[in-house]
Structure formats: C-alpha cells, structure tokens
Symmetry: C2
Subunit: 392 residues, 2 copies
C-alpha cells in the first residue's frame, strides 16, 4: 500500500522587481502565508528543500541563511537545482522523501532574486542553461536564440505566423492582469505584441517571459499526518514524471517538440492511470512552461492535449481560455505572472492547488469538474522536464 502525499499549505510572494526586500524577506513572504494556510507548527517540519538557481545572487548557499531566518534549525536541509525546472525537481524529491516513510512534513521553498544582477549577466547565465562550451560560447546561442530555433522550425512546418505566437502572450497577459501577484498586471493587444522589438527573430519582447524576483512555498505532508492533524481539504499529488534530453541542441532529432516533455508526461500519465486520449476532458486546468510563447504551443502538443501542428490554431480560437477545451496558464504563466527560476515550478503548484480549491480571483477561476490538474515545468530548452499531476 503506497503512502499518499498531500499538499497542505501553499503561497507565492508578489512576483516582479523586488528591490524592496532582501533574499530572506522575499522567501518569508510566501513561507509565512503557506505555513498559516497549513495550520501546522514549525516543529512538524523535518526537512527544508530550497529550490534556487542563484548564480546571479551574492547568496551562494541559500539553504543556510534561509534555515536560520525562517526558524528551521535542527532539521535536514539542502538545495536543489535543475535550471528553470528546479521548483518541480524540489517537489519531486520532497514527494519521494515523504512517500518513503522517512518524513511526515517537508517545506519546499523556491526563490530567485534575479534583479540583483544586470540584464546582460542574467542573459549570459541563462544562456549557459544549454551546452555552455560548444553552443553558447562558440556559437553565441542565447536562451531566446534557442527557442527561436524551435519557433522558426514550427512556423516553417505548420504555417504558424508571428501573430499566432502573440496569441499566447495576449491570453497570458489577460489572466496576469487579473492576478494581483503577477509581475505584469496589464493586458496587451495583438498590435502591441506585433510592434514590440525583436529579441531573437521571430521572438519579440512580448514573446519572452521577464526577469523576475519572487518566492513560492509548498508544504507537503503524508496522509497519516494529514488525517491526524485534521487538515480538511488537502490536494493530493497523484504522480510526477521527469525526463531529460541532450545538452547540445544540435543532437536533437528535430526542433518541433521537446522530447523530455513527451517522456515526462508519459511517465506521469502512466503512474496516475490517465487516459491519454481524453486529456482535455480529464484535466480541469493546467499550467505549462511558457518561458517563450512558442514554448506554450509546443507544451500543449508535447503533453498530448492537441495534435501536432494543431496547437497554434486551437490557441488562436481561444480554446485555452476559461470555457474553452482546456484552460491553460490562468495565473498569467511565466509570461505575465513572471519567472523567478527557482520559484516558478513551485508557484505552478500553488496556483493549481488554489484553482482546485476555488481560491483564486473569480475572473480567472476555472470550472472544476474532475478535480484534476497538471503542471508542466521545463529546465533549459527541454534539458529537463517535470510533469506533476494533482487531484482533489
């Protein structure tokens, strides 16, 4: 009999440029709210997992300073890094650690304070999230450049246009405008998106997620603990799938799909006994990794929601808004909610837990029928992928 693992407390901080707080204070913002919502005592926590990439921060060993600041001393702790998928990697190990019987309650905190660095440094460091020595240093490929390769290949194969990419930005800004914690809380028009300057053709400024500061906290607990402590409505983790891909993009078969996503999703569906032919009917709401607009289109196809080459058309028809085939990124996504790397994957779960519990703002609340949600988190350009399935 497998031990079930539930989520009993969630929160994320205001995302954005957070020069108003220091590193520890930013973490505390989500930690405090998550602890309060969980109704546990700090002493119940036997392990702290910190998700942080942190190459731009002057705090190279964040778990040390956070442990003291948050009052989590005398427990186990470590930091996890899997590039932009660090948050989901942290959730994955916390899930396994509780399932193993070694722990009852684990706190997972994701944090990034990227605006301590300048934009060129951030661009350089994120660029290294691929193959550093060959493709980055020798060929000068940057992170937007990597995804631009995918965008052009997709457009060439399936006939998608720059306007179609912008449709993702328009939707995500629409919901970001309704999320008080989002980095950007304003809608954008097709014209604004199309007129924004190129970062790496065909990706324009409005196709790219921003450089954000933020933290997110999830408190996980065993079913035993949940029953004893009387938590009324936990959200359960049904399964987590993870995969990776080549460091060099030049070794990939094509630029039409992130294979790691396909594999991670397959593993997660299999473990949770999900029928892959009915995904849009099974899941009430999903969050996908839209670091660039093309990434959301690829994610929807790689997850198996839509057929190959159909994603951009379905998105254009507004089928990923509330009321459509399947609502995607009602938080605003990385695009508008923001993308503080270590916090991103964890904030996806925060968002989905609140969606499943009808706790988000009305204008961006999905209709919950089956009580099932999915989070998809990528590190690098499909170098890592994690898919997490939640249920009421």
């Amino acid at each position: 009999m497998e031990r079930k693992v539930g989520i009993i407390g969630v929160a994320y901080s205001k995302f954005g440029v957070r020069n108003d707080v220091n590193f520890n204070e930013l973490a505390y913002e989500s930690f405090k709210e998550a602890i309060n919502s969980s109704n546990i005592d700090l002493k119940d926590i036997s392990f702290l997992i910190v998700s942080n990439v942190g190459v731009w921060s002057s705090e190279p060993l964040p778990a040390v300073s956070l442990g003291e600041y948050l009052g989590l001393i005398g427990i186990g702790t470590l930091r996890v890094e899997a590039a932009c998928a660090s948050g989901s990697a942290a959730i994955k190990i916390a899930y396994d650690m509780i399932k193993s019987g070694e722990h009852e309650v684990i706190a997972v905190i994701g944090i990034e304070k990227m605006n301590e660095s300048t934009t060129p440094i951030v661009v350089e460091m994120i660029g290294r999230a691929g193959n550093y020595f060959w493709e980055f240093e020798n060929f000068g490929l940057t992170f937007p450049g990597y995804y631009a390769l995918y965008a052009t290949a997709y457009m060439n194969k399936y006939g998608a246009k720059e306007e179609d990419l912008c449709e993702v930005a328009i939707k995500n800004h629409y919901y970001g405008a309704r999320n008080p914690k989002a980095h950007f809380q304003k809608e954008v028009t097709l014209e604004e998106c199309m007129n924004s300057r190129y970062v790496a053709w065909p990706l324009k400024l409005y196709d790219c997620s921003p450089i954000s500061d933020g933290s997110a906290t999830v408190i996980l607990a065993s079913e035993d603990f949940i029953r004893k402590s009387g938590v009324k409505e936990p959200i359960w983790i049904r399964s987590i799938g993870a995969s990776n891909d080549t460091s060099n993009l030049s070794k990939r078969e094509n630029f039409l799909s992130l294979k790691a996503t396909v594999e991670a999703a397959d593993k997660a569906y299999k473990k949770a006994n999900i029928d892959k032919d009915k995904l849009t009917k099974i899941f009430d709401v999903i969050e996908v990794h839209d670091c660039f607009t093309i990434a959301e289109i690829l994610a929807c196809e790689d997850l198996g929601l839509f057929k190959r080459g159909e994603g951009y058309k379905i998105i254009r028809e507004k089928q990923t808004y509330i009321g459509g085939m399947i609502p995607v990124n009602l938080s605003g996504g990385l695009k508008a909610k923001g993308h503080p790397l270590g916090a991103t994957g964890i904030s996806m779960l925060v968002e989905l837990v609140k969606q499943l519990k009808y706790e988000v703002e009305k204008q961006r609340q999905a209709d919950i029928k089956n009580g099932l949600a999915l989070a998809h988190n990528v590190g690098g350009t499909g170098h890592y992928a994690y898919v997490t399935i939640l249920s009421r």
Copy 2:
C-alpha cells in the same frame, strides 16, 4: 515492510589537481568504474543525481552536460547542493527516492573541479558557506577562521595543544600515503606540521584540507532489483540522519561542538537501533569530515565515540589507527585524500563500502567484525551535517 536500499557500485577518481581532464571526463572516471563494478546496464538507471557546489566552475548547470556525456538521457535528473555536505545530501535523497518505490536504480555522482578557479576565489566562495552578509563580508571571517574559533575554544577548555591537532594530520597523511587515489600520498612528521605556516591561528597549512578536483559515484538500488539482478554482496544503507544549525556562528551556544553533528548522529543511531554506549565496539571503521584537524577531533566527540574533551588524548594515543579503539579516516580523510566538495560525501561511502568488502589496499584495510561503518559529512561550519550508517 520497509524497502531496503543497497549500494551496488562505487568508485572515486584520482583526487588532486586535475588539469589533465575536463569536467565531464573527470565525472566519467568514477562513473565508468562504478558502473562496471555494479554490473548493471545504463538503462536500469531511472534517475541521475549530481552533487556539485560549482560556484567556481564555468559549468553552472552540470547535470545537463553530464547527462549527455554519460549517456543518461530520457531519465530524471537534478543537482543537489548542501555546501561541503552536498554528497551526503545527494545520497540521502537517492535513498529516500528508492525507498519510496518510485525508483529501482539511481546513480549519484559528486564532482568538483575547484582548481579551475584561483585560490583567492576559492577561499572567498568557501568563506561564503557561512553567513555571507554579516560574518563574512562585515567581519571578514574566512572558512579557516571559522574553524580556528572552534580550535581555540577547544584548546582553551580542554588543554589541547597545536601538537595534538597535528596528530590528526599525521594519521591522515599516513593513510593517504597508502591510498593511490589520494591527493597527497606522502607522510608528514610532527615537525613538518608544526613548522608549516599559519593560515588562521592556531590552524597551520598542515591542519587544512587542500583544494582538490575529483569525482565519486555511487549506484544505489532497491532490494528487489538487487535480488533479481543477482548482485552477490551489496552493502546496505541502514539509516541516514541530517540536521542543520544557525547560519551565524555568533548565534551558537558554544564553539566546543557542532550541534548539527550531534543531532544528525542521534537520528541515524535511532533509526538503525544503534546502542550509543557501545559505538566504538559496534562500528568497524568510520570516515569523518576533517576539513581541518580540529574538525576530526570535534567529530569524534560529537558522534559520541569519545567523551567531551577526551578526543585529542585518544587520538594522540593512536587509538584511531587500525588496531586502535576505532579506525578513523583510513582513506586519508579530507586532509590527505582531498576535498573536492561535491564529491567528498560520496567518496566517504565509496571508501566504506570497499572497507566492508575488504577491497582497499592491505596497509589501510580495517578489520571487519560487525560489518558496520559510519560516514559523517559536514557542510560549512556545522551548518549542515549528515550521518550515514552502512552494513554488510
């Protein structure tokens, strides 16, 4: 019924200044040997955990490049960091991940290539493994300085002398001289140690572990897998305990003990049903975290092997050599084997597995009676501590 987790493959690379290999090649050196010794197929591995601090390396996201280089694609992967305890933290989560039933075989690789940086940068980055903003930047405390505070407090309280600290270096160099993979393979005399220059009084050059490059790999597997695959003599992980302490040393009660070690050991002993009154009779051999000579003395007392204030006397009497009360650091320890941060904790397990299987060089092979061994790995100045108990 708990799932047992065994170690089926181990190796570490030659430690030292390894400008002869690049990052991936250094990892491969131990990975290949560990895979060969385990007799498994790469396809059996469903997760890769990389232990790496890496702030001095130009490879900021090592799990990506290692995954491709080692042929581990299509599986889950992430990086773990817990300062100098990163290796044990990686083992801890791999252990829990297999115990949970989510995985059968996991590869854990620790690697550090510190000599890519200059010594001043390494000293600065390691110095940050405490409280960066207050004690490091404002007070200028370096890593040797932190441990010097402990050394002077201990000497003042218990009457230990600089010569007593040197006894640890003499023993560890004695065994390092008999370990072909050690960074330093030469013995040192009391005179040489006492005449070496001060780094942070009373710690001299020969009281300090070196800046090393190296990698270490451990392959862990479930009991189910081990039985099916016919591995004849796995070594089992009996328990792992972990704890942390304040970021600021100024918030510690005293400088006579690393509380995190005491707590981590207590947790490990409790889980493994170890009688704390008979430790030196129970364990055949142990590896402790001797980043500085004083750290080995503190470790022996904090683990409960010797009474408070007695450690340095017992070590002076050569009771931690083979044939004494309990053999400690027969690998040469961090002091002589070397200390490539991310690899250190994993190399301790490699060493102990080989000791328990009578596979090390004769001159440094412990007498194995009960088949029990213990590894103690510290991050920072007791900011993290992990204690791992192994058995035949």
